[in-house]
């Protein structure tokens, strides 16, 4: 058993306890204040919650690897629940080629081709909704509906079974945490959902022009292998839906909580881009990721022993008052650049430009029709070991 140095703060708290997941802010503040590194005895991991150390650990892939798993499970000693991701759970050199292929396919220039149709899709969705009602659940009506409308088409998977995407993602993100009740809840459907997702990654199933087909084309050029291609598609399907659904929910929730910011956006539509990243900073849809020390590595004055896991609190870093002024406020006047909501370094979210484009389309469609919005009922969180998520965000809007 590891014996922490006497100067190292130790905590017996459980960051994955349901009440903490329900409202993690207090816990995270206490963790930040306890020190740059805190030993979490329950899981035998080292927690980083200040911006400086989280940023440093995210970028230092040489010292903190991903291939031993970015969840609590240590692949050096345990078998992962599914074949590891060749992006998220890989280190250089294996990580290089799949990453390069996907960065190109999901790069801002490549996405320009989708812009017009996504803007149109957002307009149609918002028009349909607002012609029926001015009071609705933002999650089901918009933030889940919109990504599910555009993203699977962009990847090129068939219509049948798309309802599996959210539960599959939900489980995958739960599985980064400990084997608690949230993981248990997902367990009965794992085989079925994984089977369905894996089937969608096959070349014959995918349309000829989507991200999926482009991944297979990269395999034909030899940029990745044909064995890697379906796993790269799987990464898109795992990481591309729940994250954007929650990112969009974060930004709409933020506007409903801060009506004056909505007015600001309506005055200056170019703020849509900043708004999304500020919401990602503020709510951090992806709250945590783990890494594993590849050697004894000093960080924040503590030596992390080789093979031990660190737990990086992206959400806590994004609200660290040492880095951000009034961090708990959602403010379009702030420049959220440099937040770690998408991670940082070689594993930084490769789909960030996709998420930004989805948000820009949706916010722009809403901004031209909605004068103001407010919370219209109890907001319910959806608990997940990794994601800051919502079950329901009831809103009432005033049309312009």
């Amino acid at each position: 058993m590891f014996a922490p140095a006497p100067t190292l703060p130790v905590s017996d708290a459980d960051p994955f306890a349901l009440d903490v997941l329900q409202d993690p802010l207090q816990f995270q503040a206490a963790l930040r204040d306890a020190g740059p590194v805190v030993y979490l005895r329950r899981y035998d991991v080292f927690a980083l919650s200040r911006y400086e150390q989280v940023h440093a650990a995210l970028t230092d892939w040489q010292s903190f690897q991903s291939a031993a798993g970015v969840g609590l499970s240590n692949f050096r000693y345990e078998t992962p629940w599914r074949p590891p991701s060749i992006l998220l759970e890989a280190d250089p050199p294996h990580h290089d080629a799949p990453r390069a292929v996907l960065s190109k396919i999901l790069g801002p220039r490549a996405l320009q081709k989708l812009r017009a149709s996504w803007v149109l899709d957002a307009d149609v969705l918002v028009d349909q909704l607002l012609s029926n009602t001015t009071e609705f659940d933002a999650v089901t009506a918009l933030t889940a509906a919109f990504p599910l409308r555009v993203f699977p088409d962009a990847v090129g998977i068939p219509d049948a079974g798309r309802e599996n995407l959210l539960p599959y993602g939900d489980h995958a993100f739960n599985a980064f945490g400990p084997a608690n009740s949230l993981v248990e809840k997902g367990a009965p459907r794992v085989a079925e959902l994984s089977g369905w997702v894996n089937e969608q990654c096959a070349r014959e199933v995918l349309t000829g022009d989507g991200f999926g087909a482009q991944i297979w084309a990269a395999a034909d050029r030899g940029d990745i292998t044909h064995e890697q291609a379906p796993l790269v598609v799987r990464s898109l399907l795992t990481a591309g839906v729940d994250t954007t659904v929650n990112g969009l929910a974060a930004v709409l929730y933020a506007f409903a909580r801060y009506p004056e910011q909505w007015a600001r956006l309506r005055e200056n539509r170019t703020l849509a881009r900043t708004a999304f990243d500020e919401a990602v900073r503020w709510e951090s849809p992806v709250q945590t990721f783990f890494r594993t020390a590849t050697r004894d590595t000093e960080i924040g004055g503590t030596v992390i022993p080789d093979g031990k896991k660190i737990l990086m609190f992206l959400g806590a870093a994004n609200r660290d008052p040492r880095r951000w002024e009034n961090p708990d406020v959602f403010d379009l006047g702030r420049n959220p650049s440099g937040h770690v909501g998408y991670g940082m370094g070689i594993h930084q979210c490769v789909g960030q430009h996709v998420a930004r484009l989805e948000s820009e389309a949706l916010l722009t469609a809403l901004a031209s029709r909605v004068e103001s919005l407010e919370i219209a009922g109890p907001v319910r969180r959806h608990l997940n070991n990794t994601l800051r998520s919502w079950e329901s965000v009831p809103v009432r809007v005033q049309l312009s």
């Binding site: 970028t59 040489q62 290089d96 030899g222 990745i224 292998t225 420049n335």
Partner: protein, 322 residues
Amino acid sequence: MSQNPVSSGTPADAALRVDAKVVVAEGVVALTLRHPTGRRLPDWAPGAHIDLVLPNGLTRQYSLCGDRWDAHSYRVGVLREPSGRGGSAYVHDELAVGDLVGVGGPRNNFPLVPSQKYLFVAGGIGITPLLPMIRQAELIGADWRLVYGGRTRTSMAFREELAAYGDRVVFLPRDERGLPDLPAYLAEATDAKVYVCGPGALLAAVEKCCADWAVGRLRTERFVPKDRGAPLRNEPFEVELARSGLAVTVNPGATVLDAVQAAGVNVLSSCRGGTCGTCETTVLAGAPDHRDSVLDDDERSAGDCMLICVSRSCSDRLVLDL
């Protein structure tokens, strides 16, 4: 001529210090570069190159040939090019340990793709991008071979490092062994991905043998002993922000992103190192001086966008869609 990179158009932030300069073969020096504050350098993968912005205003591209697991230093090998316009001569004759040089990139047009088997073919200084590839091929346990040709044995850089790999490496100094029998080596390399770097004649000879190969099996990088076109600006330049109706001056020590920000226009950025693509900005007029790792050659020459956290201007004025 100024030795101070800040006054020679190099953003202070991207200037690296020459930490070591070692003769590694006849006419070849290896430079080790570090950040003056010792901080991490941008990540790279085998095949990547950086732009070296020399204190005499010339920019040249060099393949990174060091260790990517060392995040704090870059190594490049520089051949003295008698026909060049002074970039390599400057490195050989003037550049000294302790000098600061501007750096753009890294960028990678020659990435190592996955394979169980590789054949590497190097001509002269073309060995540089292949060195880190070889290390990785070894690391993943791939079956690989290097055919390394050069003028004379003493002109061939990094021989000692390579000798450690034993008979996986074939040294072919021309004065002792003549020209390599390329068709024979290539014919032997069934199922291998073939990486070739060297002078045009070598590439042409290899390409002739591989004309009917499947796409993507042969990967080449031409070693071009040419200094890059446009001379870099030593002076400040103007940036006009079309949508905001503002104009700002970008001084040599500041980035375009800094200057725009200082004018009160918020532009979203993330990595601030030219790698993530977040700060991509549309260019309406003017000629950007690209220093990022994101855009490929076609996108660069289109000149209609730039990554303003690192890229600068070749023209007096840039007009951005901000």
